[in-house]
């Protein structure tokens, strides 16, 4: 049958199981948008900026595990996607971006809205394509989806010229097979590799698992739980690994790294074996590399061979899909007991928890921790929390309890402010039956606040929490600690968020006292439709513990005691 290139785009997208795409029309993508009208089973969400579309596709992908799709026109439409593509690339999120390009005959002539988007995105995509002929569209798009979701997932961009969209060609699905001779997403390890790893594990007195997002991407949560129990090894998680093991599980120590709890980082420094699972030893996780876990042998399991020995030199590197690797571990492991090590860590946990602001009888104001703790109490295990970047992001990681995978969506690697609201739109479209909460700071929220109108147009039921302290809080915290309290350009004003929500046809509320928190969170949850709650928190609060840049992981600044009185009821 005959199809135009524009129709072929949607033929592939729908057959890949995509039900929702996020985008913004424009000149060079007009034929595709015209054809979209015929594809009634495909829902298009019109974001208010293309950056929102790429973050929404990312949020959709992280919430569902499916490939997210963003669509934009050439030139500025395509360049606006870039921040979202780089965000997805750093966090290995599978998205396909489809951009229109000027006609193939005027490429290179600086035509109106021409831009070399494949050149621009080359270092921040897993792969990208420029398509100039309609007959190539099906094969390339199928490859794009396959590359995006297989192996270590990542973003793929497909740039399609306007004339290719307009051409009419014969279409037979089977005529365009995927042909990727150099692509090897399915590497696996040899038995000897497992022998060496298991030997190290059986000999270790103080071993630790360091679990990252790879656990969630490969669906290895159950295998991790079994392994941690059988080997009696505590598990520390990365920010993106949260949800990989229930927070309530006794083996779960919590988050490691710059703002990880003291007992976690101390345990890493005192361990004699680290087994890294689907994480990449980011500098926010290791602190100073020269002093990192000097007493520990290291095993690194990752699907990407280029991660092995990249930041931390390891004793055993195992390349492969984590679920398969951990299944083999579980089959071959002899159960062990390491009571002394667990008891030691639990003791240091108990000591550190005394400092928590939530334990203070007179906290002296409304803190973000109170808001997030209330949210934790009120929401079930299946609620999805989408955070922006900064102090609130770290407080969420510390005070919320993620007991299910894919319930925390956040920009970890790139640290993209403005991520939360559009990513939450994508998450909600992908999981309409789940409760979705946005937690953002007053700074980051203003970067993509235009997407409030997208929520209104789509009648979305989002719950938005703004942790409002009148500062770009994380930067202010660094200025306080490392720049002699010179608050250079960190005080930031905000619009009246309640009125802003109302101007968009949404509901808004403001909370200024601790006592009003439970009611406000419950009201937001009960409200059908998007509601925004502006929490005015203590302005100069800081995230503790904190490992200063360049310091060893156990040289953290500890949480100061707020009051000597300890509340007994929590």
């Amino acid at each position: 049958m005959k199809r135009t290139g524009a129709q072929l785009i949607w033929e592939v997208v729908t057959r890949e199981g995509v039900d929702t795409v996020f985008g913004y029309p424009g000149g060079a993508i007009l034929p595709a948008y015209d054809a979209l009208v015929e594809y009634k089973n495909l829902h298009h969400v019109l974001t208010r900026h293309e950056q929102g579309a790429s973050h929404a596709a990312d949020g959709y992908a992280r919430a569902t595990g499916k490939v997210g799709v963003a669509v934009a026109t050439s030139g500025p439409g395509a360049t606006n996607l870039v921040t979202g593509i780089a965000t997805a690339n750093m966090d290995s999120s599978p998205i396909v971006c489809i951009t229109g390009q000027v006609g193939s005959t005027v490429i290179g002539k600086d035509a109106f809205q021409e831009c070399d988007i494949t050149g621009i995105t080359q270092p921040i995509t897993k792969h990208n394509y420029l398509v100039t002929r309609a007959e190539d569209i099906v094969g390339v798009l199928r490859e794009a989806f396959y590359v995006a979701r297989s192996g270590r997932p990542g973003p793929v961009l497909v740039d399609i010229t306007k004339d290719a969209q307009n051409q009419e060609v014969d279409f037979e699905w089977g005529d365009s097979p995927i042909r990727l001779p150099g692509y090897r997403p399915d590497l696996s390890a040899l038995p000897e590799e497992y022998d060496r790893a298991l030997k190290l594990l059986s000999e270790a007195k103080r071993p630790l698992f360091l679990a990252g997002q790879g656990i969630i991407m490969s669906g290895a949560e159950e295998e991790l739980r079994k392994l941690a129990e059988a080997a009696h090894v505590p598990v520390a998680l990365t920010l993106l690994g949260l949800g990989g093991l229930p927070t309530t599980h006794p083996a779960n120590l919590g988050m490691m790294g710059m703002h990880g709890e003291a007992w976690v980082n101390t345990a890493i420094q005192e361990a004699d074996l680290l087994i890294a699972l689907g994480m990449r030893f980011d500098d926010r996780v290791t602190g100073d590399l020269a002093t990192y876990a000097q007493n520990a042998k290291k095993i690194h399991v990752d699907i990407d061979p280029a991660e092995i020995d990249k930041n931390v030199k390891v004793d055993v590197g195992i390349v492969g899909d984590l679920r398969a690797v951990l299944t083999t571990f579980n089959e071959r492991l002899k159960p062990q007991k390491r009571d002394a090590w667990s008891e030691y860590i639990e003791k240091s946990r108990g000591e550190a928890e005394q400092h928590d602001i939530l334990k203070a009888a007179e906290p002296g104001g409304l803190y973000a921790a109170h808001v997030i703790d209330e949210l934790r109490k009120l929401t079930g295990d299946n609620a999805i929390i989408v955070t922006d970047v900064g102090q609130h992001q770290m407080w969420e990681a510390q005070y919320y309890a993620h007991n299910q995978p894919r319930t925390l969506i956040t920009s970890g690697g790139l640290g993209t402010m403005g991520f939360a609201l559009p990513a939450a739109i994508g998450a909600k479209m992908g999981c309409p039956d789940k409760e979705v909460w946005v937690i953002a700071g007053d700074g980051g929220f203003q970067m993509t606040a235009c997407e409030l109108q997208t929520c209104a147009q789509e009648n979305l039921d989002l719950n938005i929490i703004v942790i409002n302290n009148g500062y770009l809080g994380m930067v202010r915290q660094w200025q306080e600690m490392f720049y002699d309290k010179r608050y250079s350009e960190t005080p930031i004003s905000s619009p009246d968020f309640v009125k802003l929500a109302e101007a968009h046809g949404l509901t808004g509320a403001r909370v200024e006292t601790l006592g009003d928190v439970p009611g406000a969170v419950a009201a937001s949850q009960a409200h059908k439709g998007t509601s925004l709650t502006d929490f005015r928190v203590v302005a100069e609060d800081a995230v503790y513990p904190m490992v200063p840049t360049g310091k060893a992981l156990d040289q953290m600044v500890r949480r100061p005691r707020k009051t000597p009185a300890i509340r007994q009821d929590t």
């Binding site: 080359q122 420029l130 199928r142 097979p177 990727l180 020995d309 590197g317």
Partner: protein, 192 residues
Amino acid sequence: MLNPNEPIQRTAARRQLHTFVVYAEDKPGVLSRITSLFRRRAYNIDSLTAGHTDVPGVSRLTVVTESDDAEARLIEANLYKLVNVLRVEDLTHVSAMKRDLALIKVRCNADARPQVMQMIEVFRARIIDVAPESLVLEITGTGDKIDGLLEILQPFGIIEMVRTGGVAMTRGSEATTVHPHFVHALVPQTGN
């Protein structure tokens, strides 16, 4: 060739020239992807050459880079991550021939000519152009050999010089040519 299943060999962080042979699909932008990788990861490129192979649709590149063995392994792993790259071989620690080609235009009048001709004989260089005041020489060999010739020609005055950068091939009957099955391999079907 990278084998992710092999244990990682620990070697002293000694920096030396590593020679990679890279087979890649002959598609637009492939060269740019490879150079972009080196730039982005802050790996140094000493030389890079590219050309066709005997298999249609497959290019062969030789990349020479100064690195230690650990970094070389990461370069190899990252090259493999490029979707269009078919195969990578590190020829540094195997028995291989490495050759560079240079064209050298040297200042040389009739008086100096016999002297220059005598010296280049030792280097097995060839004269490919003679003019009243100059000669153009062609030489192939290892980088060291070409450096040696340049050094002795220096006093005469080098007008212009071009070098191709290294190409390399393993010794013996073992082929370094990419196997056709890489080119025709299909991945599992998706969709319906």
